[in-house]
């Protein structure tokens, strides 16, 4: 048994972390909002492409780094931590590995960053749809690549997502191999969970820093027991969710029979943890946390946006089924 990150995993994560700290600070996230300068995002996209992140989970012979879902999780947490406002997690976790497995010829352009692919979510909503060259649509049985409909950009809670909606999801079939499609769906769920863990960490870090400085009643507000307890609970939520998400990645990489329920567990724990952390973070900040001039809202809104797509009920159903629990007839 061994649940530690390998040295390679730590090294890759640290490299990505440094790149994002430099290339994806809050200002770059703000640039993705409607009033921002989206050109500021191109440097970030290119830097990640150059680093090989998009091909992280693509076999080496197909031009990738040959890593698996276990290796991806620490990177996905970093994408969440930085609230990267581009479909980076989707490309690295879902799009590129699927195209590779399907032998799709568009893979090299995706790996190089030349072709930007967004991933459609539920209700045909497409995060980053306004900034994508193609949209990957996963149904229960198929994966299709569809032309984006970049307008209108929908007004949303998280303005950095450039959200659009597909009216036509026909496009072109990539694969109807049920195994590939189901893996891609699981990986998409994993990507969301791991980003939510990272977002939770970011919001907690911001809050710990703030409450150590902000003084009221003559002392830092972080010295009040109520604030301490909010943040201790927030840390606990994250620390409990994080290993479950990593274990789900491992279960996918190893194709364990329990992988579907492992992913469901990860989604439930991570989405609820991150939302609770958002509440605690805003509350402990007080009024400043409620402004758009301060950075916290960037991460809280991304949390709510990702959580909205999680469908916790479906995952609880999946788990109840796996545990063979019967429900009363309504």
């Amino acid at each position: 048994m061994d649940f530690a990150l390998t040295e390679d995993q730590v090294a890759l994560r640290d490299t990505v972390r440094e790149l994002l700290a430099a290339q994806c600070p809050p200002d770059v996230v703000r640039a993705a909002w409607p009033a921002g300068e989206p050109a500021a995002l191109d440097g970030l996209w290119d830097a990640l492409a150059t680093m090989g992140v998009f091909g992280a989970a693509v076999p080496e012979e197909a031009g990738g780094l040959g890593l698996d879902e276990t290796d991806l999780v620490p990177l996905l947490e970093e994408f969440g931590y930085a609230a990267v406002p581009l479909p980076v997690a989707e490309t690295a976790t879902v799009v590129a590995p699927l195209l590779a497995a399907a032998g799709d010829q568009r893979l090299p352009a995706v790996l190089s960053g030349a072709t930007r692919v967004a991933l459609a979510g539920a209700d045909r909503l497409v995060p980053y749809g306004a900034r994508a060259d193609l949209v990957l649509v996963l149904t229960d049985t198929q994966a299709r690549l569809v032309a984006p409909e970049p307008e209108p950009v929908l007004p949303t809670v998280d303005g950095s997502r450039a959200l659009t909606r597909l009216s036509d999801a026909t496009g072109e079939l990539v694969t109807d191999d049920p195994e590939l499609v189901s893996s891609a769906r699981h990986r998409a769920e994993l990507a969301t969970s791991a980003q939510l863990v990272g977002l939770g960490r970011r919001m907690l870090d911001l809050t710990v820093e703030y409450v150590g400085q902000r003084r009221q009643f003559g002392v830092p507000i972080g010295s009040f027991q109520a604030v301490k307890h909010h943040l201790a609970d927030a840390l606990l939520r994250i620390e409990i969710a994080a290993p479950a998400v990593h274990a789900a990645g491992w279960a996918l990489a190893r194709r364990r029979p329990s992988r579907a329920t492992d992913v469901s567990m990860a989604v439930v724990l991570a989405s609820e943890a991150a939302q609770d952390v958002a509440r605690a973070a805003i509350q402990c900040h007080g009024a400043i946390g409620y402004t758009v001039e301060y950075d916290l809202h960037l991460y809280a809104k991304r949390t709510w946006a990702l959580a909205a797509g999680c469908d916790v009920d479906a995952h609880l159903d999946r788990l109840a089924g796996a545990l063979d629990l019967k429900e009363e007839p309504a």
Binding site: V157, Q216, G286, A287, H297, A308, E327
Partner: protein, 377 residues
């Protein structure tokens, strides 16, 4: 005990309902926390005033109807049920006016109250400062006596001033005795925002509206009539206002009952997971329970028992209830919860509930110390 309307109350309810049915704009106004929407809301306030619905519980001579507390609750219930606009005069009517009634001179009352009711003066509050949020006693903005000119010179910075960029007047606390400790030596001032030396800068809130402002005061002269209550008495005067804000007056159950009804309507329009169904039921229960809690409290008040620190229980409950109602709706909306809309905006707005007017942490301290009698730290 009687939990239904008396005939008089029923008649009052019918009149309010009928007027609202005929008058509430068919399309919702743009948010009152934007400049354009604010102007539209001020027009609505003038319409309310013209029909004497602006401040029903006030004396008729100030534009009210001398309505009972029950009638006030009935009006609020009907107001929100009718989907009527937010009250951008809220700070004047529900925060400043109660203080004017208690501490104002007859001249101040006669001058200011009718203008508040008529939405001619639009008031914002100047409590918080960059270094004084929950801890109001940390206020550093100061007022220096100008004996020669017969007034005071105000200097300092106020912040988190809701709709400050659109208002005409500010009420707030300033330090008049720099030697006094913490909450001593403060005075409550009334400041027209067009006075020379005042600068207002609007900034954005979580829900996307530009509804906050910073107000900078640089050697702003106001006359003695700008003092509400006594000099150096500001803390006591302000606490009375804070009590109103936290208590019955600001958060009548009507708003939450109406939100609960809209939530149930949303829920009826779709097939619910068992979990969502229970969440809707519980949110609805809590809105009803808050109404009953308020009715009990009003009965106590009419029997001469002031809620006092117990009003912090209201603040704790409605602020969590408001978040819960909106979070439950977002849960029902699923992926569409990400889209801008009344529920997602309402959720973001609701998140400010446990923060403003004294954080819920402070409210719990107040309940524990002043209601339960636990020892102070």
């Amino acid at each position: 005990m009687e939990l239904t309307d008396t005939p008089t109350e029923a008649a009052f309810r019918a009149e309010a309902r009928e007027w609202l049915r005929a008058s509430v704009p068919a399309t919702p106004l743009p948010s009152g926390d934007t400049r354009e929407g604010f102007a539209r809301h001020v027009e609505w306030e003038k319409q309310l005033f013209a029909a004497r619905w602006a401040a029903v519980s006030w004396p008729a001579r100030y534009g009210g109807r001398d309505a009972s507390l029950w009638e006030w609750l009935i009006f609020e219930e009907e107001y929100y049920a009718a989907g009527a606009p937010q009250r951008v005069t809220q700070n004047g009517i529900f925060l400043l006016a109660p203080t004017l009634f208690d501490f104002g001179t007859p001249a101040q009352q006669d001058l200011l109250l009718p203008r508040i009711a008529a939405a001619e003066d639009l008031w914002c509050q100047g409590w918080s400062e960059p270094e004084a949020g929950s801890d109001l006693a940390g206020i550093t903005s100061r007022a220096v006596r100008d004996e020669a000119a017969g007034g005071w010179r105000l200097t300092g910075q106020k912040t988190w001033t809701t709709r400050g960029a659109f208002c005409t007047h500010l009420f707030g606390l300033f330090r008049t005795d720099p030697a006094a400790q913490r909450h001593r030596g403060l005075t409550y001032f009334l400041v027209p925002l067009d006075t020379p030396g005042v600068t207002v800068r609007g900034f954005g809130r979580l829900d996307g509206d530009e509804g906050f402002a910073e107000v900078f005061l640089n050697d702003v002269f106001v006359s003695d009539s700008a003092v509400l209550g006594g000099v150096n008495e500001g803390w006591r005067v302000a606490m009375a206002t804070t009590g109103s804000e936290r208590g019955l007056t600001l958060r009548s159950p009507g708003r939450f009952l109406s939100a609960a009804d809209r939530l149930v309507e949303l829920a009826r329009s779709r097939r619910l997971s068992p979990r969502s169904r229970d969440r809707v039921v519980r949110s609805w229960i809590n809105a009803q329970a808050y109404q009953l809690f308020t009715l009990r409290q009003v009965s106590e008040l009419l029997a001469g028992r002031q809620p006092g620190a117990r009003s912090s229980l209201n603040k704790l409950f409605w602020s969590e209830l408001d978040i819960d109602l909106h979070a439950t709706a977002l849960d029902l909306l699923g992926p569409a919860a990400e889209l801008d809309g009344p529920w997602s905006r309402g959720f973001l707005f609701a998140l400010s509930g446990p923060i403003y007017a004294g954080t819920n942490e402070i409210q719990r301290n107040i309940v524990a110390e002043r209601v339960l009698g636990l020892p102070r730290a």
